[in-house]
């Protein structure tokens, strides 16, 4: 049988019909992940005691960052300004126009410093001020670097539940 006599049209249609559901599912997943809600593994010492050192699986809400609903005290995912491939978890400690007072050296009570946050920026800080690289070192970050708001912890199961936002650290 000649290769040209194969029913190419039917084969193409069949292949298209078979792959379409997978493409569709992938697109739905992408949409949900990017615009509605996604999950993230948060770990490291900077958010102790809220998030443990070994790693918590958290749910991230992508809607509030898009519509500018982030408030003081929310836990957010931020792309690190020093390394764009790294995403860090921090707590918002000041919005644009606020004045933030912080300790430059957490062990020295007299090293407090006050800065005013410029337009379109936010101030993020870890809950564990002794071991956190945050706005105290790299300054306020542009709002565009926010990736989402952490609102729910899934794992470990014994601390399953919503992560409430807290006012000033």
């Amino acid at each position: 049988m000649n290769i040209l006599q194969l029913p190419w049209r039917t084969i193409a249609k069949e292949a298209f019909d078979r792959t379409l559901p997978f493409v569709n599912a992938f697109c739905c997943l992408h949409f949900a992940n990017k615009y509605i809600c996604s999950s993230a593994l948060a770990f490291g010492p900077s958010m102790i005691p809220t998030i443990s050192l070994t790693g918590d699986l958290v749910l991230v809400d992508k809607i509030s960052t898009r519509f500018g609903q982030i408030k003081n005290g929310d836990i957010v995912l931020v792309r690190s300004p020093a390394n764009p491939r790294k995403i860090i978890t921090k707590r918002v400690a000041g919005m644009e126009g606020d004045k933030v007072t912080f300790l430059e050296d957490p062990n020295d009570k007299n090293s407090s410093k006050t800065v005013k946050i410029q337009e379109g920026h936010i101030w993020v800080q870890g809950d564990n001020i002794y071991s956190s690289t945050d706005s105290r070192t790299f300054g306020a970050v542009p709002y565009g670097l926010l990736c989402g708001r952490v609102f729910f912890r899934v794992y470990p199961f014994d601390s399953f539940g919503s992560l409430s936002s807290r006012s000033q650290v």
């Binding site: 697109c27 992408h30 792309r79 764009p84 379109g120 920026h121 542009p142 565009g144």
Partner: protein, 169 residues
Amino acid sequence: MGSRFLWNVTRNVLTCGLIGLTISDRYAGIAPVRGLSMVPTFNSGHSTSERSFKDDRVLVTKFCLEKYKFTEGDIVVYRSPNDYKEKQIKRIIALEGDWINVPNSFETLKIPRGHCWVEGDNPTNSVDSRSFGPIPLALIEGKVTHIIWPPQRVGKVEKILPEGRLISY
């Protein structure tokens, strides 16, 4: 019969929209260029700052976001550091670790880690790093590779670097 037809149309429109959105988010999209900040590279044909159908359309690829690897002279789309809702198109002049002559002053500046210096090709009509300083690479949303509209200027975008801005040691 009518409702079934309507349902089919809605479903097809939704599917196409979803696939289009996924492609433009993950791989490549089309963006209009507004304003005069990139004359003569873009929008050189007319001289209004209003949005119009004569605006250039460019192809923005997102593959560079996997590793955040850029070179000097690339044209990128990024979120404005002062207003996260606004996207701007500018040319990268310097990357992290480079020393740059700050225009209109006698300073030289070292670009911090994870940042870059962006400028429009039209220095008289552009809000860029000269007013807000270096921006984090993480704000970048894609690289402009081709002009696809108007038809007489379809083609690849050239990498051009202004002379004498970078200081080499």
